[in-house]
Subunit: 360 residues, 3 copies
Amino acid sequence: MEESETFLHNGWYVIAMSQEVTRDLLPRMVLNEPLVMYRTQAGVPVVLEDYCPHRLLPLSKGCVVGDGVQCGYHGMQFDPNGHCINIPGEERIPRDLKVRRYPVVEKHRWIYAWMGKPELADPKLIPEYADPTESAGWHHVSGLFPARCNYLLILDNIMDLSHLAFVHAGSVGDASIADKAVVETSTQGDRVRVVRRTCNVPAASTYAHFGKYRGNIDRWQVTEYAPPAFFLVNNGSKPTAPTPPSEGDVSGNGMWGFQVYHAITPETENTSHDFWTIGAPVEMLPADAREKFKNTMEGILDEDRGVYDAQQKAVEAKSPLGRAGRVQSRIALKGDKALVAARRVLQTKINADRRGVAGK
Amino acid sequence: MEESETFLHNGWYVIAMSQEVTRDLLPRMVLNEPLVMYRTQAGVPVVLEDYCPHRLLPLSKGCVVGDGVQCGYHGMQFDPNGHCINIPGEERIPRDLKVRRYPVVEKHRWIYAWMGKPELADPKLIPEYADPTESAGWHHVSGLFPARCNYLLILDNIMDLSHLAFVHAGSVGDASIADKAVVETSTQGDRVRVVRRTCNVPAASTYAHFGKYRGNIDRWQVTEYAPPAFFLVNNGSKPTAPTPPSEGDVSGNGMWGFQVYHAITPETENTSHDFWTIGAPVEMLPADAREKFKNTMEGILDEDRGVYDAQQKAVEAKSPLGRAGRVQSRIALKGDKALVAARRVLQTKINADRRGVAGK
Amino acid sequence: MEESETFLHNGWYVIAMSQEVTRDLLPRMVLNEPLVMYRTQAGVPVVLEDYCPHRLLPLSKGCVVGDGVQCGYHGMQFDPNGHCINIPGEERIPRDLKVRRYPVVEKHRWIYAWMGKPELADPKLIPEYADPTESAGWHHVSGLFPARCNYLLILDNIMDLSHLAFVHAGSVGDASIADKAVVETSTQGDRVRVVRRTCNVPAASTYAHFGKYRGNIDRWQVTEYAPPAFFLVNNGSKPTAPTPPSEGDVSGNGMWGFQVYHAITPETENTSHDFWTIGAPVEMLPADAREKFKNTMEGILDEDRGVYDAQQKAVEAKSPLGRAGRVQSRIALKGDKALVAARRVLQTKINADRRGVAGK
């Protein structure tokens, strides 16, 4: 189908925060497919296609009955595997009467669903992520933000952090982030890693405030991408020193820093779900600083969403370019290296997907 | 035209309630065609296409002048037959300057229009309907409700009343309506009749309240379909008896019951006009019960409209299925027998229509 | 491109009122192209395409820096000619990295842009217009009104002023304007001129009020069209006389009258910008009459916009006719002569445009 050519189907996607999925039915559109979620009596999350096969009423308009779901129109019941187990008034249940069931994993306080062929759904393909929410030493804030854009525009954003100098100039960015950063990009298998070191620069306002810096700092941003669309950005800083931050330095947060994790899930070709978690070591974020940290970080995500919205509208209006997936091919800048690499990794997997090869 | 393939053009449709059509111009979209209605000085209803042929301004933006209508842009006047009778500032009126006139019949307190070839517009093709509004012995409520769906989804709803058990579980339905009904479907010419008998069951709440039942009841629902989309549902009940309700019983209302009549008119492929009348014998609905009866019935229609809206959105989203007209072909259940029969009757007429054969 | 076949690209269009264009960025859609405007430090207006070529973020989301504009995403800077002059973090600027610049002329208190090939942008092609705003002897009101229609529907409106009898019956029109006018249409080169003389008629209410007429009047309306879509309407009147108003009379305003100027600029195929100025000789409009004059004139423009909106919706709904550009070809009336002539002039230029010939 033309509309879904930018989607990798054989992949895990975060489709909900754990606390959103209860004994009530929760509908959500993912990769243009309507899903409905709930938990069984034992608390196991279930994800089904959100259509009754009889007359297409969304199952989410019905209710949970036992461990299954009952359509709100003529009462058909389906078990957690999607098999029809009751049709009021009928003696016989057609053998092929079922709804699609999606493989599910609950991890990192999120619900992951596999959107491709069920037999390929290997939980080991979910990227490792040392969830700060589960580590005693981290304070975190998290949420789900809707983004009015194709998910690849978010990939572009995160893989080129020079935008902090302009989009987030009032908080985590200043001109030096674009002008002075030394950037290294590397690809290993299907992972892309970008290390940005910006040395001997004034602390951007958020760093000055929370890190209590008085002089110049060295700063690093390490972005790790895993397909389809998982992004871990480790941010750290310390007072400037004669030698740039080492590999050891950049794997931690130095004197002050934080981690940003995005699990981006396409909703449609033009809209996305941004599941995000931002955490900082508790000693870098005392209790009285947390409210302001949360507001600052949510403000930053809002600034990005303003960009996405305007950029997506432009992409849709500009017919000769057409699709968000092709925006990046127009000019090649040094700063685009990481996002080009990440898109290439993803496109390779999408192409393999289309040829029917496993997404591994 | 692809978009109108589910419409029967050579057919009568209710396009307004009598009281809506006055000396003011009333616009309404019917079968994707814009109509404008008014009454002549003698009170005769007139239905014209709602475009001035000169510059396409809707005639409904103009005004009634005498027995005709005057365009609000350059003042062209058309008589009730749609012929242009005046063009300000012009000496000559082009011979072919006219707007389309639709054959009209006023009956059952409704305005019917014939949407196909005028020469085929036989008033006898309007289904007989013993309008409770005109019989002294009946109390009625009626109205026009917009439905956000293709009209065939309404046909499906009314022809399979097992949905009362789920959509209307709080009023006229309970589980027995789906589980225990004995259903007989018959087709005669272009009419489809379904008789549902549900015996020795507790009275659903609406029946218990208005019928004042204390014990189990026998209940019947008789639906009669006439194309394009007229539906009479006769509902009746009585205390349960050793033998099921007879044919004589089910043609009346027993101890308590009511009649529902729907004249469904497509507005577009995705929206419909639901002209409805619900009546009950006056002795079954004393004056102090009527307000609650009206509220109950309108609540039930609202529940159906919630289903239509969700179902239509699902139909539009689910591209492989595409059109509302094809929803019904997916699986064949016993409960679908009547709606399959009604759709078949209608499709036969639509096919004949397309081949240019009279719709009789 | 199919969608723009009714647009003349090699032409001047008013895209803003002078006072709208400042040191802040102003976005506006013109001929389906997104433009961004601002002034240099010296006050010179600049018009660029409103896309950053890097990732398509509208430049209007960025800011003015010096005489250029800086993208709000990654900080690319462009000079007033559209050339990229800085990319933060990059040593090299790709040679072809630029945004489209549009030729600009500031005149008549408006900003004109040339939407076609820059080398054909001859300022002399802007129609002469004795802007009443710049003459000491005139009082004027002016503005920019959005119109929800293809710009050709506005052309049709202005070139056939018989509509005053119906659309503006409460102010500048009465039946005589349609019934009694003697109309002469002439075409010279790419200009179309229509003279309407309506003699010995009661004064329409606006004329009676402002002109203080007690008896019948002679009235004239002279419309001059210049492509793509400039319209000057000179209105005048005097007490009725035995001989009709002379050529000399109709070039002035007589005892009471006013001028209306419209510069119509397509926004999209379905929407337009109506830049308008209405002026009257100061002696015909004493200070205490000006508020009412302004309200009357804006009310008239609102009445026209009501027609445009309804007409455009009808054009879009009526698929067999399809496009606004073709509405006029259906029937040929005497009153349509001027608009047919104006459309022919314009179509000739559009055709030449398409063949790559200069628009002169």
